[in-house]
């Protein structure tokens, strides 16, 4: 399929002044979803999200039409997200896809937590993340496309089943499953949860402004209904602090700023204890994911050195879990 040609044919319907698409290039991305950046000849910068026909839909991946509907819904409740321009139809020749606005900013966590350019926005970023999460969590559920619901106990059970299937013997994970199982908080009132709110999926602008540095929340494919503390805990997992471990929120801020921002924007109160439960479950999930990615090497599905080496990142989740268990 010729994506640039299909985008050019679509151009007049994406912007009234456009006749063609230029500079279409595929950005690095996952195997299951393609992301293309392109411009219209009237200067409009856009992004195409597309599932290639060859991709198998994973158990957890949302249809792209659902993702586009979520972007519109959370935008209406005040969360910063790219604006959906067009949901592709079969006649567009792009398969399952949608087009959205292209935001300017940085997603690389290493730069966001270290570069001088972001020193001005870092101090307010944790509070801003809390505010944005409160807006996402306040999205009215009626009118949303169908989404799965999960709570702490079901997430734990799901990842334990994956771990058992892998046949690994990792005593830290064994201990963490039992430790967290006893502490799993009940789901009181399910809200829309982003499901992957962390460095890498947050578009950060070095310019401060009303957006407070956070100009876009990307990658909604893991969105579901669940505990708001899940999102608050996930961004605190040490694996995405990029070395800045003393700043628990994404390597740029403190717990209290995140919780205060969430509460001040109308979020249901979340205790630090509940956040830390989800942070620990986040480390455990990341550790199991590392083993899963390694398993595709071991099974022969992907024999790349990258798939082999990511298995050795399971130990970073282990060391983070031991610290959390020791200090609990």
């Amino acid at each position: 399929m010729d994506v640039p040609a299909a985008l050019s044919a679509l151009a007049p319907r994406l912007s009234p002044g456009a006749t063609t698409a230029t500079e279409a290039r595929r950005l690095s991305g996952g195997a299951s979803l393609e992301t293309w950046a392109f411009d219209l000849d009237d200067g409009t910068p856009l992004i195409l999200r597309r599932r290639p026909p060859s991709a198998r839909t994973g158990d957890n991946a949302l249809p792209l039409a659902t993702e586009a509907a979520l972007l519109a819904a959370v935008a209406a409740s005040g969360a910063p997200v790219p604006r959906v321009i067009h949901l592709c139809a079969p006649g567009d020749g792009l398969g399952e896809a949608y087009v959205m606005g292209r935001l300017e900013g940085e997603t690389l966590g290493k730069r966001i937590v270290r570069d001088e350019a972001f020193a001005g926005v870092r101090p307010g970023l944790a509070r801003r993340c809390g505010q944005v999460l409160a807006a996402i969590h306040a999205t009215p559920l009626d009118g949303l496309p169908p989404l799965a619901t999960s709570d702490a106990a079901s997430e734990l059970a799901r990842y334990e089943a994956v771990y058992r299937d892998l046949g690994a013997r990792r005593p830290v994970f064994e201990a963490a499953f039992r430790w967290l199982e006893r502490r799993a908080p009940p789901l009181e009132r399910p809200v829309l949860v982003h499901g992957d709110f962390r460095n890498g999926n947050l578009m950060i602008s070095p310019a401060s402004g009303p957006h407070g540095g956070l100009v876009g929340v990307l990658d909604w494919e893991l969105a579901h209904l669940g505990d708001p503390a899940e999102d608050l805990g996930w961004i605190c997992v040490n694996s995405w602090r990029f070395g800045q471990w003393r700043q628990p929120v994404g390597g740029f801020g403190g717990y209290q700023d995140l919780l205060d921002g969430h509460a001040a924007a109308g979020g249901a109160p979340v205790t630090l204890e509940r956040l830390l439960f989800w942070q620990a479950l986040g480390s455990l999930k990341w550790g199991v994911m590392c083993l899963m990615m390694y398993a595709s090497f071991a099974s022969g599905a992907d024999r790349s050195i990258e798939r082999a080496m990511i298995g050795r990142r399971a130990s970073e989740a282990e060391i983070d879990l031991v610290l959390l268990m020791e200090r609990s």
Binding site: R178, S304, R313, E318
Partner: protein, 122 residues
């Protein structure tokens, strides 16, 4: 001692990478991963045997059993899984802490979790 992947699997993936043609951006990324893999194998060769011997000594004391690392580690997992050992038992935690500290020194010595674990509580 160290699995997922074992040193043998890492060496195998490395030799496959070294035999592949060079070129694009993906290859440049993989070359950096391959350098990390080589460094990991060197650290494992240097540190792995002592780490395993110490783990076996700790496990014998913790479990009251004899056996090699695989047997003892499997038994520890089983006792944690079915609740015969508590995850917050100080002796269990001490073993887990010593083991992950040795493991991260092989897998990813610059990982910040090591500094965090060594620091006094805030």
């Amino acid at each position: 001692m160290i699995t997922h992947p074992t040193a043998g699997e890492l060496a195998e993936a490395l030799s496959a990478f070294d035999d592949a043609p060079a070129g694009d951006a993906r290859t440049a990324f993989l070359a950096r991963v391959a350098d990390n893999a080589r460094a990991t194998l060197e650290r494992e060769a240097a540190l792995g045997p002592a780490a395993e011997a110490e783990a076996v000594a700790r496990l014998r004391g913790l479990l009251g059993l004899e056996g090699d690392f695989d047997d003892l580690n499997t038994e520890l997992c089983a006792r944690l899984c079915d609740g015969r050992l508590s995850p917050l038992d100080p002796a269990v935690l001490a073993h887990l802490k010593a083991s992950v500290t040795d493991q991260i020194a092989i897998d990813q010595p610059s990982y910040s979790g090591l500094a965090a674990l060594g620091a006094s509580p805030a």
